[in-house]
């Protein structure tokens, strides 16, 4: 895919038996960053030619819209920064960030994040500002630590 050329939209479509199909297409980046806004008028047109109904929409930014650069360090994508948070009904959730920067952990090869690290604190603030639980309520970060996940499947390699 060309860099920054097209944004993908996927409509999840259900039939009268509840089975799910999908329809995908691309929206050019030069019309704006929100492909669902551009794609919204297509739903009514699709209703005219399909017996299915749109039950969900997925949108992606253009591919290779890189933010930062991959760098060498002692961890890889299997190493995870696990951030655990608590929702409004005391339910727990977690966010896993792959290939964490070793600098955010406490010295002495600790698995625990350094509570004074500025980048960690910025992430904590971003999560508590932007992430919600399934009631749509803001969450509260409880703790964060390092863990290593299973081997990657070959299909998870970026091509």
């Amino acid at each position: 895919m060309a860099d920054n050329a097209a944004q993908k939209v996927i409509f999840k479509i259900a039939d009268n038996m509840g089975k799910i199909g999908s329809l995908s297409f691309f929206i050019p980046t030069n019309v704006g960053t929100d492909p669902l806004v551009t794609a919204n008028p297509a739903i009514a047109l699709l209703n005219d030619i399909s017996d299915g109904i749109v039950v969900g929409q997925v949108s992606q930014t253009a591919d290779d819209t890189a933010v930062g650069t991959a760098a060498s360090n002692s961890y890889d994508i299997r190493d995870k920064l696990l951030v655990e948070y608590e929702g409004s009904q005391n339910n727990f959730g977690r966010i896993e960030v792959g290939d964490p920067d070793p600098a955010i952990f406490q010295t002495g090869n600790s698995e625990l994040v350094d509570p004074t690290n500025a980048n960690w604190l910025a992430l904590k603030t971003a999560i508590e500002t932007n992430v919600v639980d399934k009631l749509g309520t803001a969450v509260k970060v409880i703790r964060a630590y390092r863990q290593r996940s299973r081997h990657l499947k070959s299909t998870q390699r970026f091509i």
Binding site: Q7, M17, F26, N47, Q57, D99, N119
Partner: protein, 153 residues
């Protein structure tokens, strides 16, 4: 009505391996390149050595429009109208419409009728708003009814 949408960002390390960072955002957030998701991407990017090639957002609350599925002869999602478009660089894009209505096809055939009013409106929308992988504009070539393997519930 869902109170949340599901957002994710892809992370790729320097060996080319990837993972997804998944989080929930408010139902009003639908732009994968908007303020909320960009703020999360920037914060995550600051604590990882991987890079983020793209972000994604999925709604959980369906969409405006028809809310009851039809019961026409091709109303299972395995039935498809495969509409072929040609991009300006001569690449091919196949767009599969699940559960097509019978009106899409020329009577007595499996061929899509591009002159039918609703089909023509769809083709016009695609040619005006959609593009190929490389951002090229599209031109309708042909369409045909087909059927895929059984879908899972």
């Amino acid at each position: 009505m869902s109170a949340w949408n599901r957002a994710s960002m892809v992370l790729r390390d320097n060996l080319g391996n990837i993972c997804k960072v998944v989080f929930l955002v408010g139902a009003a957030v639908i732009d994968p390149g908007g303020t909320v998701i960009n703020a999360m991407r920037a914060a995550v990017q600051a604590v990882t050595k991987a890079l983020s090639p793209r972000a994604e957002l999925g709604t959980e609350s369906g969409a405006s429009g028809t809310s009851t599925a039809g019961t026409g002869p091709f109303s299972a999602v395995e039935d498809r109208a495969v509409m072929t478009f040609r991009a300006a660089d001569n690449s091919t894009i196949n767009m599969e419409i699940p559960a097509p209505k019978a009106l899409m096809f020329t009577t007595g055939t499996t061929q899509v009728d591009p002159t039918e009013t609703h089909v023509a409106a769809w083709i016009t929308w695609v040619q005006t708003n959609a593009c190929s992988l490389f951002g090229q504009s599209l031109t309708f070539v042909k369409g045909e009814r087909t059927r895929k393997k059984q879908m899972k519930h």
